[in-house]
């Protein structure tokens, strides 16, 4: 397996809604084994960029996927963890139902085979929520639900993982657990990850590179240099005083 080979190539992507241009001339690449963070103000088009990769919105331009040996993938498997699931919290859908809805064509209310249950348990164990396999998804805490969705996104093993502000409903302890799972998965699977986050601290800590978006790509760079960037500081209104960052 070659290191740092291009996984997703976005070329001259444009998205319009009516006469309003949401994204314009976006050209970006995400590499295997790397976490690319999309940062920018609210309404800058970060989520729309993820939606374009998912083909959830109409767009102009090209989005190509490649496997780790550089071969183009026509129908890539995409793992996606949404910011939040807006579903009925009283819904009786269990974690197991969610997994079976994807892995089988037999309606989930017919029951689940032992083999599928073991497989789902295996996936859930990786993210540490296996004891909730029979719990309704509405009864899980924010952090537990996001970890279930992460395990769900990783099944079957995706060619790329998209995370849309995945920890906005997760408490502080849950956040570090969530990201450490992502990091170990990325290393194990050598998987490219595209992360939308509004929290620069998380980006510096957990991402490899960043792209500052404001309807187009303003700047790209190494995540460790993020806070030194003038454009990033201007966008987020960060004051740097003797190395101490103050968020406005």
């Amino acid at each position: 397996m070659k290191e740092c080979q291009c996984s997703v190539k976005i070329k001259d992507l444009r998205v319009k809604k009516g006469s309003h241009i949401i994204l314009n001339h976006i050209t970006l690449t995400a590499n295997h084994g790397e976490t690319l963070a999309l940062i920018g103000k609210n309404g800058a088009g970060k989520t729309t960029l993820l939606k374009s990769i998912l083909h959830s919105v109409d767009f102009y331009g090209k989005i190509d996927f490649f496997n780790s040996s550089g071969k183009r993938i026509r129908n890539p498997k995409i793992g996606y963890v949404p910011q939040r699931l807006s579903f009925d919290r009283d819904s009786p859908i269990t974690v197991m139902d969610l997994f079976c809805a994807n892995s089988s064509n037999i309606p989930v209310w017919f029951g689940h085979s032992k083999k599928r249950k073991e497989h789902a348990l295996n996936m859930l164990e990786k993210v540490g929520v296996h004891k909730h396999i029979d719990s309704p998804i509405g009864r899980l805490s924010g952090g537990e639900l996001q970890r279930v969705l992460l395990a769900f996104a990783l099944e079957p093993r995706p060619d790329i993982l998209l995370l849309d502000e995945p920890v906005s409903a997760v408490d502080r302890k849950g956040i570090s657990k969530f990201y450490s799972i992502i990091n170990s998965m990325r290393k194990d699977y050598h998987m490219p990850v595209i992360l939308v986050s509004h929290d620069l601290g998380h980006v510096v800590k957990y991402a490899n590179s960043y792209a500052l978006i404001n309807h187009t790509v303003i700047e790209t760079g190494n995540a460790s240099n993020l806070l030194k960037s003038k454009k990033v500081r201007e966008t987020f209104g960060i004051d740097v005083n003797e190395g101490e960052e103050v968020w406005n």
């Binding site: 793992g79 996606y80 699931l85 579903f87 009283d90 089988s104 064509n105 209310w109 996104a153 995706p158």
Partner: protein
Amino acid sequence: MELIYSAMETMLPFSWVEFTFMKNAFLAVLLITPLFGLVGTMIVNNKMSFFSDALGHCALTGIALGVALKINNPSISMIVFSVIFALGISAIMQSETSSSDTVIGVFSSAGIALGVFILSFSGGFSRYSSYLVGDILSITKNEILMLALILILVTIIWVISFNKLLLSGLNTDMALSKQVNVKFYKNIFAVLISVIVTVSLKWVGMLMINSLLVLPAASAKNIVTNMRMYHIMSVIFSLFSGISGLILSYYIGTSAGSTIVLVSALIFFATFFINRCRNIS
């Protein structure tokens, strides 16, 4: 059919079985209600009860067009027109140009208005009033056979599509990431609901049909914790209220449709309080 009739007479030793219209109505209830219970779970889960209501209202326009154009087979033309309307609403909702709330509101009232307008064109709307309140006792032998055929077909498509419908309802983008053709399945959902509503509208009535779709599933949701029990209980509640409502209406002398809906509503309130008591304790 004669075989089924005589089987019913032997198995059900009640006075109402003597009447053919009651036997037909009973068979129709046995056909319609389990499917309503089954499909209702998805409607309740995806918070789409007003969507199905609007589809019911548009089915009236579909039926009206079928009647007005005097096409050879009115049932088929009704279904075709209702399906076209259902796809229309579904497309407008998915285009996200207006909020789904508004789209549903517009179609809901325009559907009834257009239906009543066409049916009353020659001045004789009263002939069609059964479409509003339903008349399950008027169902004939041939209509039951047609109903059975269509409902079996709908059930098969529903079962095959269920998991994809479930994922599409949870989160569109997540379903897309799992390579589910969300647009296609949302249309399938609209079409199936509209077909069920159209073929049952004459016997259940437009004003009450949505209650039959929503109440059994809503009652089941009050007391279950997994999808399997959700579906089993919803079908049981639907079947129970259908049968008991029909028989009660015979003895009390009330409209069958309204009695069935009232039994469903009573079950809903009972399960609602059971759920509340459980949560408090």
